[in-house]
Subunit: 434 residues, 2 copies
């Protein structure tokens, strides 16, 4: 069969990892495909001044992405520069030129994915987005095709490797958040500005994307209630352990008759749940389907070659489509015509809760707090207090039976005015059924 020529735009981590695979692993790729994948054009601001891997001697090397898109041999353009402005221009230009597009761009797809797919479908070209979320896990393909026949009821993800690494370190070494973050930054596991990772915004974009695929809706990331891991302290892991649980930054989607609940937040999960075994900078996804019951997927969340596997596997898939005459075979979102949707207010969701307080100890504290909980019709399940803590900043925990997040918020608001509170209470749901 005739070879397929591709153009690579962007030689950062992902571009470099993809080129490594396309050159080093070229023989096995050809053995799988029955034809070769040839890199005919490469664009980066530094491409001309750096050494490219062997096998690219004949490729056009340029600093102008338009030359890649316009290259007559190139049938598939890989957009690997990230960001949203130039990247969007590249993707739209490639689609307009009738070329298939593979992208690793999470922000672009979370914000503009549905609109770009409509352009691609209208032009009859493929848009492939596996690398945009959970680089090392082929989760798009799984949701779009692998378990497409199932009707998903719940989806839980650990989608941010940096937060998961930080939580794992706090748990293992009993260290404070700030110290672990500083060390992670020193080691290059966290960005100088860690907000996107530790405050949950990166995970939120990913959840929006994967929930679109899982439930056939078009979601706006900023509609998803999001909180990060900054308030988590070593003492929370010790209390969680007393409850047979650990703590993870959980991206959850729950389909109910009332609608879709979505959230990104730290949560307690049972230690023997398979999601609890995800430690360090890994990503994972757990699903529950009406027919297939529970399934679980795990791998590196990022990294040059793990994400490169996703990029090049998408190039292979699109190349197969091209050579078999089937461009635009399936929407990258799994559903035809997903509809814009708003999640249900998360305050309506029922959960058991972990409430951690820090107080200046004196008699009557439990009495005050339990009176407020009773007033909001919230039933206490257990009160936990570890020994040997400082009475001036005493951490203790109340767990309560399943109730709505709205009731919890109202009770906590009322509690926050109490004079013995050293800091605002921390509330985390206990995620059931994992």
């Amino acid at each position: 069969m005739r070879d397929v020529h591709v153009g690579i735009i962007g030689l950062g981590n992902v571009g470099t990892g993809s080129l490594t695979i396309l050159t080093e692993n070229a023989a096995q790729l050809a053995q799988k495909l029955g034809f070769r994948l040839i890199v005919s054009a490469v664009c980066s601001r530094t491409a001309k001044s750096r050494a490219l891997p062997a096998g690219l001697e004949a490729a056009l090397v340029t600093e102008d992405w338009r030359e890649v898109v316009a290259h007559p041999d190139v049938e598939i353009v890989a957009e690997l520069i990230g960001g949203t402005t130039a990247a969007r221009e590249i993707v739209e230009a490639a689609i307009a030129a009738g070329k298939a597009v593979v992208t690793a761009n999470k922000e672009l797809i979370a914000l503009e994915g549905a609109a770009l797919w409509r352009q691609a479908a209208a032009r009859g070209v493929q848009l492939a987005i596996e690398a945009s979320v959970c680089g090392g896990i082929p989760i798009h393909g799984v949701l779009r095709e692998g378990i497409a026949a199932d009707r998903l009821e719940a989806f839980y993800g650990i989608l941010n490797g940096t937060s998961n690494y930080i939580l794992s370190e706090i748990e293992q070494y009993n260290s404070e958040f700030d110290a672990v973050l500083a060390e992670a930054q020193r080691l290059g596991y966290a960005e100088a500005d860690p907000t996107a990772d530790v405050d949950g915004f990166d995970a939120r974009s990913k959840l929006a994307l994967l929930a679109s695929l899982a439930f056939g809706v078009e979601l706006t990331p900023s509609d998803i209630p999001t909180s990060g891991i900054r308030p988590i302290t070593p003492v929370d892991f010790r209390y969680a352990a007393q409850l047979g649980c650990t703590i993870r930054l959980v991206c959850s989607a729950e389909a109910t008759p009332a609608g879709l609940f979505l959230a990104v937040r730290p949560a307690l999960i049972p230690k023997d749940a398979i999601l609890a075994s995800v430690r360090g900078a890994y990503n994972a996804v757990w699903t529950r389907g009406a027919y297939g019951a529970d399934t679980f997927y795990y791998g590196k969340g990022a990294g040059p070659t793990p994400t490169g596997v996703a990029v090049v596997s998408d190039l292979m898939r699109v190349a197969r489509d091209l050579r078999s005459g089937a461009s635009g075979r399936v929407s990258p979102f799994g559903f035809t015509g997903p509809k814009p949707a708003k999640p249900r207010p998360i305050g309506e969701q029922q959960r058991a809760w972990y409430l951690r307080f820090r107080v200046q100890d004196r008699p009557g504290i439990i009495a005050s707090l339990s009176a407020i909980l009773a007033q909001h019709e919230i039933s206490i399940d257990a009160v936990l207090q570890l020994p040997k803590e400082d009475w001036r900043n005493l951490p203790f925990v109340i767990t309560v039976e399943s109730t709505s997040g709205m009731r919890i918020s109202r009770a906590l608001e009322q509690m926050s005015g109490l004079d013995f509170m050293v800091e605002p209470p921390l509330a985390m749901p206990l995620e059931p059924g994992l």
Copy 2:
């Protein structure tokens, strides 16, 4: 787009589960595909005398599979009867009639898959086999497309739910194999004749199939060294725990410069490896790639609707191919023209080993055994003996440093003649790097 009509042959567990999904979930399937999947013909020996789900009123119901294959509307035939004789005839007849085939038939595909694919490719029709292994995990799609760009170095699977259930029960309740098996049979988790499950033959067929996909080779199941779980006793779990490990029936494939090592055997795996968290009647696959590092996939191994998800997801995929004009788009084996291959002799593989002995205790036993090990140049790592055991049938364990299975076999053979041995020693590898 024009609807796609399918024919279902076989209404056992998998056929019934598939029909449930095709009828109950029809609206969501159509929303995903952009057209409907319509069941136009159903064949089973009991189809005429049983109630079929709503939505099949217009379907042809027959006891003759030839009528399904010949039905003019049917574009895809799902072969769900199992076995190899009639099933092969059905698949070949459907291919000859120019119809795509979806099958859940492990034995047939393990034995005849490559030959059937050659027929399908020659006729330009699709052959889809996701449901033939690990019903609830879309592992074929993952290996064939999701991580197709990676070059796999190792593959570990827990591929037999019955054995995994039995091992989990022995571990959790400290029960003997025979008692757990009898209970599993009473509960319907194990067959009256449990040989295929507990002696590893079912897992062996599945490993042959998945290793073909992962490494692009055509394997004969009977070439894979296989041993089952009958010799595992509660005491083995206690010794394994002392080593920080648990025991699973592990299907392993390791690509080395010397060739491909394949085995099905009980093995020790670290308790904190994610594969160790697979308990009960689940299946799981762990891979290590040259580029994507480690990934992991988990779900129900069998069951009417989990396997039905695999069948119907394959029907959707093939239907999309048909409507986009791309029949025969990709070999179900991931590689074009996989070549027949023999695994390397497993005795050449290097592993650390767990050796469990049962002896009639007297002075000099360790001296005899360690002399034999030394003679075969095998280094002892540790000697473990739990307290309070019967001296007439004393179990104890020697772990040895990494060495070839061949040396271990020779040493064990020499040991088996010793007069203090109550039964032949049990050797299990410690699987590293999971």
